[in-house]
C-alpha cells in the first residue's frame, strides 16, 4: 500500500502546483491583447505573419493602440480544435485579456467565438473565414478583419461570365472552408446564367488529384474553379499543368490558391487568375508605406495575412481612440468599431452590420512570385451574413 501513498502524494502535489500559479494582475491603463494564433503545425507561417502585422502597427505607434500601452499574452493554438476551448480560456480566464485576437483555423475560431460569447470578451478574427462567425454566430463583441469564405469566390462569378464562360466544374477539399467558398461562387455564377456541370470534392487533406483531372478532361467544361490553400494548392496547380489542362481549360480560384505558393509551384502558377481582398501592386499610399515598414521590420515582404493582422490592430485603435483610451468603455468601443472606416493597405473598408469587412475584391494574376492586380472584381462587397440577427 506504500505505492498508493506515493501515488496520492503525487496527485496532491500536482493539484497544489496548479493552485500556486495565479494570474498576474495587470494595470488598468494598459490594453491586454490575447494573441491566439498557430506557432506550430501546418498554419505556423500564417500565424507568424498575422502576429507580425499586428505588432507592426503597435510598434509604429510607440507600443500603443489608440493611445493605450499594449501588453501581450500569447498562446500557440497549434490549429488544433480539440484544445481550442481550453486555450481560449487560458487567455480569457487566466490572463484576463481585454481582447482576444485569433485565429487561422476556422474550427479553432469557432471554439474561441464560443468562449468570447460566453464571457462577453471582445474578439477580433484576423483570418478564419467560416461564414458562421459573422452569420448565425454573429455577436456584438465579435469582429472580423479578414473575409468570409463566401466573399472572394462570389466575386469570381461575374468575372467568368464576362469572359464568356458558361460551364464550370468546381473542385475543393470536402471541408467547411472549401464548401462555403464553392457555394459563394455558385451563387453569383448561376444567378448570371452560368451552369455548374459538376461539383467535385476530395477528402481533406488528400492530394491525389489525378482521378479528378481525368474526369475534368472528359467533362470538357469552359473553366474550372477551385478552393485550395498551402501545400494542396501547390500540388493541384502543378498536376493541372502537367496534365496539359492549363491551356485548354483555364483554372480559376479563390485567392488562397496563389498566395504564398507561387514560388513552390514553379511555372505552374504563371497566369492563374484568382480573386481576393488583397493584391500586389495596389496603387495606394497606405499599402506602399505598409510594405516598406514591414520589409524593414521583418526583412521580408508582407502577405494578405500580415494585412489582416495589421488591420486587427487598426480596428482596435479606432475603437479605443473614440473612447479616449478607456478600455472599460466596451459599449463605446464597439460602437466606434462598427462605424470605423479602416484605412487598410488593401484599400479602405468599413464594417457590415454583422461585423465583417465590406471590401473590394480584386482580380489578380500570377506573375513570377507575385499576384498583381488586374481589376476590381467586386466593389465594396458585403457578405450576406445569412442567419445573423444583428442585421
Amino acid at each position: 500500500m506504500e505505492k498508493t501513498i506515493n501515488r496520492l502524494t503525487g496527485l496532491l502535489a500536482g493539484a497544489a502546483l496548479l493552485g500556486l500559479v495565479t494570474p498576474a494582475a495587470h494595470a488598468a491603463d494598459t490594453l491586454k491583447v490575447g494573441l491566439m494564433l498557430p506557432a506550430t503545425g501546418t498554419y505556423a507561417k500564417l500565424g507568424n505573419a498575422i502576429t507580425n502585422g499586428f505588432k507592426l502597427y503597435v510598434d509604429e505607434n510607440g507600443g500603443k493602440i489608440g493611445g493605450v500601452a499594449v501588453e501581450y499574452a500569447v498562446v500557440d493554438d497549434e490549429s488544433d480544435p480539440a484544445k481550442a476551448t481550453e486555450n481560449a480560456n487560458k487567455l480569457v480566464k487566466r490572463d484576463e485579456v481585454d481582447v482576444l485576437v485569433g485565429t487561422v483555423h476556422s474550427g479553432v475560431a469557432m471554439a474561441m467565438a464560443k468562449v468570447a460569447r460566453g464571457t462577453k470578451t471582445l474578439m477580433i478574427v484576423p483570418n478564419a473565414g467560416a461564414d458562421e462567425l459573422t452569420g448565425p454566430l454573429c455577436a456584438p463583441n465579435i469582429f472580423r478583419t479578414s473575409f468570409t469564405n463566401w466573399q472572394p469566390s462570389y466575386a469570381m462569378g461575374p468575372v467568368l461570365l464576362d469572359k464568356g464562360v458558361k460551364k464550370v466544374v468546381t473542385l475543393t477539399w470536402k471541408y467547411s472552408a472549401g464548401l462555403q467558398a464553392i457555394e459563394g461562387f455558385k451563387e453569383s455564377f448561376t444567378a448570371g446564367g452560368g451552369e455548374i456541370v459538376k461539383e467535385l470534392t476530395l477528402p481533406f487533406p488528400n492530394t491525389e488529384f489525378q482521378p479528378y483531372l481525368t474526369e475534368i478532361a472528359s467533362l470538357k467544361p469552359d473553366a474550372v474553379f477551385v478552393f485550395f490553400a498551402g501545400g494542396g494548392a501547390v500540388k493541384l496547380a502543378k498536376d493541372y499543368a502537367a496534365a496539359g489542362l492549363k491551356d485548354s481549360i483555364p483554372l480559376y480560384g479563390s485567392g488562397f490558391l496563389t498566395d504564398g505558393t507561387l514560388d513552390a509551384m514553379g511555372g505552374a502558377g504563371e497566369g492563374l487568375q484568382t480573386t481576393l481582398h488583397y493584391a500586389d501592386g495596389l496603387d495606394n499610399a497606405k499599402d506602399k508605406a505598409f510594405r516598406a515598414g514591414y520589409q524593414k521590420a521583418y526583412g521580408m515582404a508582407p502577405d494578405v495575412y500580415a494585412v489582416q493582422g495589421y488591420d486587427a490592430a487598426q480596428l482596435l485603435a479606432a475603437g479605443l481612440s473614440a473612447v479616449s483610451g478607456k478600455v472599460d468603455d466596451r459599449k463605446g468601443m464597439i460602437a466606434a468599431m462598427e462605424a470605423a472606416q479602416i484605412d487598410s493597405p488593401r484599400g479602405t473598408f468599413s464594417m457590415s452590420a454583422a461585423h465583417n469587412p465590406v471590401q473590394d475584391i480584386y482580380l489578380r494574376e500570377g506573375k513570377g512570385s507575385a499576384n498583381p492586380v488586374v481589376s476590381v472584381a467586386a466593389k465594396a462587397l458585403a457578405d450576406p451574413a445569412r442567419g445573423c440577427r444583428m442585421k
Partner: protein
C-alpha cells in the same frame, strides 16, 4: 507493506477531499483545467483497462470519446437544455455500441495488426464526422446548453454552474474508479489479466477469450464515452479532431507515463501530461520537441511509468544502505 488497507483508504479519501476542496481555493480557469484533467483521467483509465489489463494496445480509443461527445451535441435541442438522465445514458450507450461493432471486427486481429486496425477504424470515424454535414462538418458543432438533471419539476443540482459541474465530474471519476475496482477483482477481471499473460492457456482452460476481450472492449469504449460526454458538457464544443488518431496516441501516452495496469497510474499520467504540456508551452514555441524527448525518456528509462518511480528510487537507496 508499511500501511494497512485502512490507512490506504484514508489516504485515498484525503486525495478525493483535496480535489473536492480545490474549487474553494482555485481560480475559474484552473478549476476548469483540473476538471479537464479529471475527464482525461477517466479516459485514460478506460484505455488502461484494455492496454494494462487486457494487453490490447488500441490506437483508436479516441473514436469512442468523440462519438459520445457528438451524440450529446447532436441530440440536445438547440435552444433548450436537454435532460441529463436521457443524454448521459444515450451518449454512453452510443459509444458502447460503436465499441461493440468495431470490437467484433478488430478483435479478430492480434499484435501489430490490432494496433493498425484500431488506428484505421478511428480514421474512418473521423472522416464520418469531418466529411459529412452530420455534425457541422470540419468546423465542429456547439452544445449551447449544459444538460439539466431534471426529475419532473425537481432539479437536484445545476451543471450550468461551474463548481457543481466540477463536483459532478469528480463524482464520475470516483464512480469509475470504484467500478473498475469491482470489475478487476471479479472473475471477469481475472480472466482478462490471464488473457494478457497467456491467451493460449486461458483458451485451453475452456474460456472463450474472444468474448472476454469483447466485453472489455465494450466496457472501455463506454467509459471513454462517459469521458467524451463530460468533455462536451464542460467545453460545449465538439470537433472531429476529438476522434483523430493523435488524440488516441495522446491518451495512450498518458497511460504509459503514469504506469499501466493501475487506475491510479492512469490518473497520475493524465495529470502529469497536462502539467508537462502547460509547463513546456510556457518555455518555448517548440515545446513539442521537449514533449517528444520526454516520451523518449519515459519509454527508454522509465518503463513502469511514474508510479514505478518510487519503487525504483527505493531500489537505488536500498543498494546504498547495503554499503553502510
Amino acid at each position: 507493506m508499511i500501511f494497512s488497507d485502512r490507512t490506504a483508504l484514508i489516504l485515498k479519501l484525503l486525495g478525493v477531499s483535496a480535489l473536492a476542496g480545490y474549487p474553494l481555493v482555485g481560480s475559474e480557469f484552473y478549476i476548469e483545467l483540473v476538471a479537464k484533467v479529471l475527464i482525461l483521467a477517466i479516459f485514460a483509465m478506460s484505455l488502461d483497462l484494455l492496454v494494462g489489463f487486457g494487453g490490447l494496445v488500441s490506437l483508436g480509443h479516441a473514436a469512442f470519446f468523440g462519438i459520445a461527445a457528438y451524440t450529446v451535441a447532436l441530440i440536445s435541442p438547440e435552444y433548450d437544455p436537454a435532460n441529463l438522465w436521457l443524454v448521459l445514458p444515450a451518449s454512453v450507450l452510443a459509444a458502447g455500441l460503436a465499441a461493440l461493432a468495431i470490437g467484433l471486427l478488430v478483435l479478430r486481429t492480434k499484435g501489430i495488426y490490432f494496433i493498425m486496425v484500431t488506428l484505421a477504424f478511428t480514421q474512418m470515424a473521423f472522416y464520418l464526422f469531418h466529411d459529412t454535414a452530420l455534425g457541422g462538418g470540419s468546423d465542429g458543432i456547439y452544445l449551447n446548453f449544459r444538460p439539466e438533471p431534471r426529475v419532473g419539476e425537481w432539479m437536484p443540482f445545476d451543471l450550468a454552474e461551474g463548481h457543481q459541474l466540477y463536483y459532478f465530474i469528480l463524482a464520475a471519476l470516483v464512480a469509475v474508479y470504484v467500478l473498475l475496482g469491482f470489475v478487476l477483482r471479479s472473475p471477469f477481471g481475472r480472466v482478462l489479466v490471464g488473457i494478457k499473460s497467456n491467451e493460449h492457456r486461458m483458451r485451453s482452460m475452456g474460456y472463450s477469450t474472444f468474448h472476454y476481450k469483447l466485453g472489455a472492449f465494450v466496457l472501455a469504449g463506454a467509459l471513454a464515452g462517459l469521458a467524451g460526454f463530460l468533455y462536451a458538457v464542460l467545453f460545449g464544443f465538439v470537433t472531429p479532431e476529438l476522434l483523430s488518431w493523435h488524440e488516441s496516441g495522446h491518451v495512450l501516452m498518458m497511460v504509459i507515463l503514469g504506469g499501466m495496469g493501475s487506475p491510479i497510474g492512469a490518473m497520475l499520467g493524465a495529470g502529469s501530461m497536462v502539467a508537462l504540456e502547460e509547463g513546456f508551452s510556457l518555455l518555448t514555441k517548440h515545446w513539442q520537441l521537449l514533449m517528444g524527448l520526454v516520451i523518449l525518456a519515459v519509454v527508454l528509462f522509465l518503463p513502469g511509468g511514474l508510479i514505478a518511480l518510487p519503487a525504483r528510487l527505493r531500489g537505488l537507496f536500498a543498494r546504498g544502505d547495503h554499503h553502510d
